[in-house]
């Protein structure tokens, strides 16, 4: 193909969209759009489509559990300490030996 022919075809291609008509849709297309909007609203109202909310709730639950667990174990250890110190004090006052293995100490 000569350069002249190529140029002509290029110009033809560039001019081919002169006078182009609009691509049109059916006037009933709005029904399809409305149906899509209604469908989306329905699915958005369900819990399934809100993973962000689910993740947030799960994180909250984990944090609350962690806090409760930490507090509980702290309380248990302090109660234990109090119990042991009060027993020790009691035994000291009445000159009692709290060590159980001493019961079998014959020499004492």
């Amino acid at each position: 193909m000569s350069q002249e022919q190529i140029n002509k075809r290029v110009e033809d291609a560039l001019n081919s969209i002169e006078g182009i008509q609009s691509a049109t849709l059916s006037p009933f297309f709005k029904t399809r759009i409305w149906a899509a909007i209604s469908n989306r609203e329905e699915t958005e109202n369900t819990w399934q489509v809100k993973p962000v909310l689910l993740i947030a709730v799960s994180v909250c639950l984990i944090i609350m559990n962690a806090i409760l667990f930490t507090n509980l174990s702290y309380n248990n250890s302090t109660e234990k300490n109090i119990d042991q110190s009060s027993i020790a004090q009691f035994s000291k006052e009445y000159n009692l030996n709290t060590y159980t293995n001493n019961l079998y100490d014959i020499e004492q």
Binding site: R9, A13, S16, A23, T24, I37
Partner: protein, 197 residues
């Protein structure tokens, strides 16, 4: 009806926009009827597939319905709708390219064996005499950078004025003129290569 001779945009009155914000079904139906062909015509020129363009048009209006409450009126309603349409169309293109790349990779590795043949796109609004030339032009259009492609489609296919396109693309008129010049020059190069084969 030639595109360059029409501008049937709805009056940008605040009452109508208020009705849209209140999710008035009748107002929204009116908006769809008025703009659906503009959105479809823009989408089809970019994605170059009728079914995809229909789905895209649907997505655009769903987005418009969802976001109209946040429409502040800084731009015209038509400008805003065109922006949504273009954003969606470019997003659609990116996804399609990504899918193509994955499919190509799978073919290469041997996980998949379906060669996707490139089908010529025939714009429904093109006169029969120009059908073949226009198909070559639309194929060449796909090689342009996004900005040039958008400017070319809005001005040459959708028939908007430089002023309207500058508002849509948030660029001054000189920039739009530059984009059109570069688009034409790039298209000429691609077409020359195409016809030289």
């Amino acid at each position: 009806m030639h595109l360059n001779n029409k501008h049937p945009f709805l009056p940008e009155n605040t009452d109508f926009i208020e009705l849209l914000k209140k999710a008035d079904q009748e107002a929204f139906a009116q908006l769809v009827v008025e703009y659906q062909d503009h959105v479809f015509n823009t989408a089809i020129s970019i994605v170059q597939h009728i079914q995809d363009a229909e789905d895209l048009t649907q997505e655009v209006f769903v987005q418009v319905f969802k976001s109209v409450k946040e429409f502040r009126g800084d731009a015209k309603l038509s400008t805003w709708i065109y922006r949504i349409a273009l954003t969606k169309a470019l997003e659609w293109e990116r996804k399609k390219k990504a899918k193509k790349a994955i499919s190509y990779f799978k073919n290469l590795v041997g996980l998949e064996n379906n060669e996707q043949e490139v089908v010529d796109f025939y714009h429904p609004g093109i006169a029969l005499d120009n059908k073949e030339s226009a198909a070559v032009l639309f194929k060449a259009l796909q090689t342009l950078p996004s900005n040039q492609k958008i400017a070319f489609v809005l001005i040459k296919v959708e028939g908007l004025s430089y002023q309207e396109v500058s508002a849509i693309m948030k660029k001054n008129i000189k920039s739009i003129e530059g984009l059109i010049q570069r688009a034409k020059s790039n298209l000429r190069q691609v077409l020359e290569k195409q016809y030289s084969k």
